[in-house]
Amino acid sequence: MSEFFTEAVLIATIASGIRFAVPLLLAGLGEAYGQRSGVLNLGVDGVMLLGAFGGYYTVLKVGNVWIGLLAGLGVGLILGLISAFITVTLKADQGISGIGVFLFGLGMSDLLFQRLVGTPRFIDTFPRIEIPLLGDIPWIGEMLFRQNLVVYLAFLAIPVSMVVINRTTFGMKIRAVGENPEAADSLGVSVAKVRYATMLIGGTLAGVAGAALAIDLGIFQQNITNAQGFIAIALVYFGAWRPLGVMLGALLYGFVNSLVIQWKTLGIITDSWSDFAAMAPAIITILALVVVATRFRAPSALTKPFERGE
């Protein structure tokens, strides 16, 4: 046990927990926009996978990680548009069409990888940026302020989203459309437009999350997200549809994972228990869902396609 409490180990546990949380945070935040407007998008993982491939492949070809991140963004944007078309315009069942998008992303990203790349090759990863002054703070500096730019951007997206959702007219429309689309519609708010917008935001963030994941790892391979997209969706419920809650959930998830791994490497968790340790995040999520479900209410129109009586 004592080994765990060395400075370096503690700092590393938290720092890597934070990095682990970033893709979850981005994808979860995007999903929160959609759900606040009444759309459940179960296809996040598929979008992340394709975004991951797009980002990876671009960096491989172009050599610039930021262009790679943009590529992930573009992929996410397109898939967000397609998902919006399926769920908003065609009004398909949100849960199942999302599974379809997931399967498509899973297969397609692998297919593209095998055809266009084949042998896994490392790409550049994001350079670490040490924030002047803040980065020099003992402990805190090392944990928080010696990360890469994407980490900072992801955490910046939280307050931005809080402002967008709670303080802008657009955010008000999102909340209204997710709660009572008929009422919003009667005031001239286009339910479809708002939902397209949130789906585009959601897709974009999922694409960025995937690209950030692949570029941060410096590699792509089949199913690289390993169902992180689904975890991100669960985090939206966990966070009771609030950006801050999503962030807390993502951090908790990241910390639990890096703690479990750290304990495994230190022999605190023996291998025969490792399967159970791997269950922990899922079980914690279910328990959190129980708590949230009894305290908070989902947006009333969630999963319900909107149709103007006619």
Binding site: R167, E179, N180, S186, L187, E310
Partner: protein
Amino acid sequence: MADTPMMEMRAITKRFPGVLANDNVDFDVRAGEVHTLLGENGAGKSTLMKILYGLYQADEGEVLLDGEPVVIDSPTTAISHNIGMIHQHFMLVETLTVAENVALGLPSSKGAFTDLDVVSDHIVELGGKYGLDLDPSAVVWQLAVGQKQRVEILKALYREAHLLILDEPTAVLTPQEVDQLFGTLRQLTADGRGLIFISHKLHEVLALSDRITVLRQGRVTGHATPDGATRSSLAEMMVGREVKLAPDKPDVTVAEPALVVSGLEVYGDRGLVAVDDFSLEVRAGEILGIAGVSGNGQRELAEAIAGLRAVTKGSIEIAGTDVTNNRPIEVRDVGLAYVPEGRMKDGCIASFTVSENVLLVDHRESRFLNRGLFDFGAIREHSQGLVDEYSVKTPTLETPVRSLSGGNIQKLILARELEGTPTVLLASQPTRGVDIGAAEYIHERLVTQREEGTAILVISEDLDEVFGLSDRIAVMYEGQVMGIVDPATATREQVGLMMAGVRPELSP
């Protein structure tokens, strides 16, 4: 009044699959007047108004504003033409504040950010001018019904509506709230605004309107003015024949109390007491009507009696058996039949067939089973019997009830509930939203049932119905009985005051 109407609809026709909702309708409004649209349920009033507000597109016809033809293809367009609409059902986002509901969809003075402080100030200002008192920062779900109504009006005024459509704005208000609303509306017409008013309450129509247009089956069937019309003349124009406003009731000797409610306390959905120390007896062979403005605990009372809502204090007895907090099925077994207020919500399963809906309560019964499996022969026979007896108009027994008319669905529910002569019949808003014709029929059935010795508790917001049907009237206000009166001697005004919370002994 100006010569050109501020709004004119010409030869409007609107078809829904199989329904001609508006058939060549002409309708206009002049500045400073209240023009009332009158018609039975389904006559096409809301449809016409939704066309005017851009929610539906007319198949034929045109709309003119100040003499100029316009195309109103969305609510946004309507709003930009200074048309406002108060919908039949509240169009409010319950989780947003009053100010947010008002500001929704409007450009903000602060660009992308909301300007709720500015909006709030203006709300208070408008409220002061028109007697619409509200806290702009209150979250809507916390508001009382009357307050929600005010939010709706404010939304329209905030958008500078010159032409205001009010689709049944009084349905959920107390008589006093109605008076207050009418005060506001008169102020609006005095400002030169035009109002379209829709209501089924004929005395309100006579009190408020300048002109009246009657719709029947989608067609304009008549025009009237308040000075030249009476309630029964209006009813006749609506239905197309003479209408019996109250059923004939033979005398029946009442027997033992069949339903005894004593000291009942029940909580509502929001965790507040909805039924408070409520006591009542209904005897076999009598109809007890409960009058009251909606939201005064009637729904909770009915649900508690039916076993659908937990009772925290007091007791409920049916035919001498204590059924307090029993499961719904147990209460039914003792002899309760229940016609719920939400016909589509609670009373039937819209996608199920007529036969399947007949089975809703009785599907476990052995007479419909054969070795554990449904006996479709028996089920069909039984359903056909009920459909014939209650003249439910349906193409087949396999038709989903979704495609039946409201009146026929209500008859089907009634048929199902009255089957086997229940000890107690609890009927909530039995004729709400059904044709006058169907309503007449339903009233007759209730009277017949009374003769057969069933104790009947009718909950209704329709005073005409309560007066016409009841042997005794109990008035419910804030979860309590304000008093019990005899319909033969009591006046509407007395009952109205009681509905507003004034105890009879205090009234002059």
